[in-house]
Symmetry: C2
Subunit: 341 residues, 2 copies
DNA sequence: ATTAGCACTCTGTGCTTGTGAGTGCTAACC
DNA sequence: GGTTAGCACTCACAAGCACAGAGTGCTAAT
């Protein structure tokens, strides 16, 4: 359904005013302060039609209009102009993210915190998918005594390290044996292939050494399992409480997002690396009825690698947020590429 | 000031009832349902005296009494009996904390989350102090390409790892050089002694190699600096919002605790490893006027190592919380000892 | 197609009133 | 002297009501 040029301008003005003020917008305000050169009565007629079409709604009879979910949708898809991040913003973003050279986990965490900070919303970032990746190498660092640190490095950029406690003093023979047998048997496998049974079969073949290697092998299986699941990082969950739109529901939405599997379900990447905006009930979940999600996929080494996005009130400054999310998704991808050239 | 036996019982009953219900307690309730064998008028007389002494106060004229801060103080110091954690609780605690064998950071993080979960309050845990500790060893793990992982292990149990990006392909000569020169020069020093100038002087003496070693050395200085500051872990900040005592102020208290330097200032260990309860204004900060802090120090290898505690409404179940904090502080110390035998 | 005018609707605020809970005080009692 | 019954008093809170203000929808005139 295509709106007339004037209806479009009215919808856009109402939406943008509402985004800023959070108050319903009345016909009087539009005719007096928003630069329309027609009377409030004319605007009322237009607004009545827009209401009938489902683009505007009234909180109550004697209030002004606010955009309905469909109104926001139309505004986002057809009316809004984008504000690309300013060079000051870009500088801020880069200087925050450059300080994590090399560590993908920290890189993603700071992407989340930058997103949260600059949008004032809650940010969600997934770690890279493990699909199609393989274990590149596994290293052991003796820490003295019975402790060893294990570092598993996966081709999608993921690094998992864990400290492993052996039953006896760690010997160089043990470490050598691990490298020779286990590491070589596991390298180039996909993380999700490394199951405990697989590791146990391997252990069985070690004969005498099986027992002393057990902690290392289970730690390895554990690390691989962890590398196989896409983790979810969040930041700025407390921002949720700042928005008066969430008053009352704020704490429960926060609780909802704190659950990682909930959080990750919200992000749905566009097919072509585009930013997607998912409004209210489009999220198909009760907690997000008056919230919206702006998300994008990031890619690394030319393939879709993960997703990131923000959750905020439906009344948010899409014109600025959409380009920001796009920019950060691109930057994360580029920095991941750089890390694992 | 010593209260008569009956006044003590009245204060304790009012406090305990108020802790459970959150409502002011009236004389009628006490005489009817709380097992006092005197009339409400008698209790009113006693309560009036307790009010005059500053142990009770009234939200308004026609309401019942609630304990004042001094009332809570007297109750905690002299009246309350402690409920040691049940064996079920102990089992829950241990099974949550045992899964972090070896990694002190994770151990402390799960201590925080157990504390938060079991008390329904926000939990704060500091990492071990660096005072008196020294760098035990530093290891490098080549991750392929230009990346190296550095693991700095400190004698107080702290481990700091960071990924470091070199300017060229990492060579074994480089790593060897680092081990030979730098690691030996730094080992057994206190983390706070490792300053950037110190590292730079060392680099200068490396001649030709100074340039290629620079990223490793700055990473090391960085890791040492990080190991020198006591970090603060928090958990369950969102619990703050659940307490109706914090209604309105909840978000700002949460914000206050999110600031680590604020959080750590709240914990004040007792002199003798005792649990300390710090009530409302005793915290000397506006945000905590109706909150209280229950904290204890934990020790490792026989010396005071760090602190942990919780922040919650003044109306909390001290009889259960105090022993719980004591138990977890002891357990953390014991587990840290075990980790770094 | 646009506009002025007017009746109508609904919210939010302030005011009043009534109710219930709990106290403080006094005088009687053991 | 400690304890108790009785009563007047205070205060928070909810309900009811009037009123102002904002904004609309409709009609008739331009």
């Amino acid at each position: 359904m295509e709106l007339s040029e004037r209806k479009g301008r009215i919808l856009a003005t109402i939406t943008e005013t509402y985004i800023v003020t959070g108050e319903p917008v009345g016909s009087k305000y539009l005719s007096a302060s928003a630069g329309f050169r027609v009377s409030s009565a004319t605007l009322r007629n237009e607004m009545a039609e827009l209401s009938e079409m489902g683009f505007l709604e009234q909180p109550h009879t004697s209030a002004g209009r606010i955009p309905s979910q469909n109104g926001f949708r139309y505004y986002i898809d057809r009316l809004m102009g984008l504000y690309e991040p300013s060079s000051v913003d870009i500088f801020r973003i880069r200087s925050r993210m450059d300080s994590n050279e090399g560590d993908p986990q920290k890189l993603l965490a700071s992407a989340a915190s930058v997103l949260a900070e600059m949008t004032g919303c809650a940010a969600i970032v997934t770690t890279p998918y493990s699909a199609g990746s393989h274990i590149r190498r596994t290293d052991l660092v003796p820490l003295g005594g019975r402790n060893v640190m294990m570092v598993v490095s996966v081709s999608n950029g993921t690094l998992k390290s864990r400290i492993c406690r052996c039953d006896n003093e760690v010997s160089y023979e043990m470490i050598d044996l691990f490298y020779k047998i286990a590491a070589s048997a596991f390298a180039d496998r996909a993380p999700e292939e490394i199951t405990l049974p697989l590791v146990q079969t391997l252990a069985a073949s070690l004969g005498d050494h099986a027992f002393e290697m057990a902690p290392l092998l289970t730690a390895f299986a554990d690390a691989a399992r962890e590398a196989a699941v896409t983790d979810v990082l969040t930041a700025g969950l407390s921002n949720i409480l700042r928005h008066r739109d969430f008053e009352g529901r704020g704490a429960s939405l926060q609780e909802f997002l704190r659950n990682r599997s909930n959080a990750v379900r919200l992000l749905r990447a566009g097919t072509d690396g585009q930013v997607r905006v998912i409004l209210g009930s489009e999220n198909r979940c009760r907690e997000l009825l008056n919230a919206s999600v702006v998300c994008a996929g990031y890619s690394a080494h030319g393939r879709e690698a993960g997703m990131l996005g923000i959750v905020g009130p439906m009344r948010m400054d899409y014109a600025a947020v959409v380009p920001l999310v796009r920019y950060i998704a691109g930057l994360v991808g580029a920095m991941l590429d750089e890390n694992t050239e």
